[in-house]
């Protein structure tokens, strides 16, 4: 479980907390000056951003736990739909970037098998997709 916490980067968590505190002060000051509409305009997009960030982090943690639990890589890839290969590749590179030995060992193992199955195009699509990052 300690390895999964590595996914929650310390810099991002601290930045999020700092932003929450700053936004809370902004919203409080707007409410004090009887500007509920303006406070909503600040609050809603900020909350959406926070929830999407938290959701992304949770998904990464859940995927990491699932990846570490895999014993039969060949069986996994046989049963996985080809449309999920690209998504799996993105999460593998995310896992490889953590630097944790166990995680990297597992991700390298799966990466080799996935590349054999899906080809180099899978790698290039995960590199080229700058919109849907994980």
């Amino acid at each position: 479980m300690a390895a999964t916490e590595a996914f929650v980067e310390a810099d991002n968590a601290e930045a999020i907390i700092t932003r929450i505190e700053h936004k809370s002060r902004t919203i409080d000051s707007l409410l004090k000056h009887s500007k509920p509409v303006e406070s909503l305009q600040v609050r809603i997009p900020f909350l959406c951003h926070i929830f999407s960030t938290i959701k992304r982090v949770l998904i990464v943690i859940v995927v990491h736990i699932a990846l570490m639990a895999i014993k039969d890589v060949g069986g996994l890839l046989s049963s996985l739909d080809p449309e999920y290969y690209d998504i799996l590749m993105k999460y593998l590179y995310r896992g490889l970037s953590t630097g944790d030995r166990l995680t990297c060992d597992q991700c390298l193992h799966i990466h080799e098998k996935l590349t054999e199955r899906a080809g180099l195009g899978c790698i290039l699509r995960s590199l080229a997709d700058t919109v849907n990052t994980v």
Partner: protein
């Protein structure tokens, strides 16, 4: 251990094979200039996602790609202070002779020991699989070189100490 190294090098090889699709692309900002976009990073649409491949906490490889250039930065395993010094000296020696290597960067990227910069011109002049073989072979050989240097330093130190202390016997 050997299996992890094999998997690590295979992953890097596959990633380089996929990422090394370079073409000539003149600078969008300055007329008649042609610059490696991976170094400038002024146009986000020309850059691909950077990829960090770690073998463990100490060894990692950063691959940054753009439309006309590719940068590979390596962090070599350094177990102790002596290896740290030897690695720094040896890689600095190589970096100062970067022109002879052509694809070597004079200064490594911050946080890494050595960096390679491959542009579309190198890609046109040299064969892609040979370039990738060179990078992977370099990664294999660098560990051996550092180990040999360390052994040589320890051997020389032992000989010198033995000769010096003989006078006190």
């Amino acid at each position: 251990m050997a299996n992890t190294l094999r998997l690590y090098l295979t992953c890097i090889r596959n990633t380089l094979e996929a990422a090394m699709c370079l073409q000539n692309f003149p600078c969008q900002e300055v007329e008649r200039h042609n610059k490696p976009e991976v170094e400038l990073k002024t146009s986000p649409e020309l850059l691909l996602n950077p990829v960090l491949i770690c073998r463990n906490e100490a060894e990692k490889c950063l691959i940054e790609t753009s439309i006309n250039s590719l940068r590979i930065s390596l962090k070599v395993k350094q177990a102790d202070e002596l290896e740290n010094i030897l690695t720094k000296k040896f890689l600095r020696f190589l970096s100062m002779r970067a022109e002879a290597f052509q694809v070597l960067r004079r200064k490594p990227v911050q946080g890494y020991d050595i960096s390679f910069l491959i542009t579309n011109y190198h890609y046109e002049d040299m064969q892609k699989h040979k370039l990738i073989d060179f990078i992977v072979q370099f990664m294999e050989d660098i560990d051996k070189e550092i180990s040999e240097l360390k052994m040589s330093v320890n051997t020389r130190g032992r000989l010198v100490a033995t000769e010096f202390l003989k006078q006190f016997i």
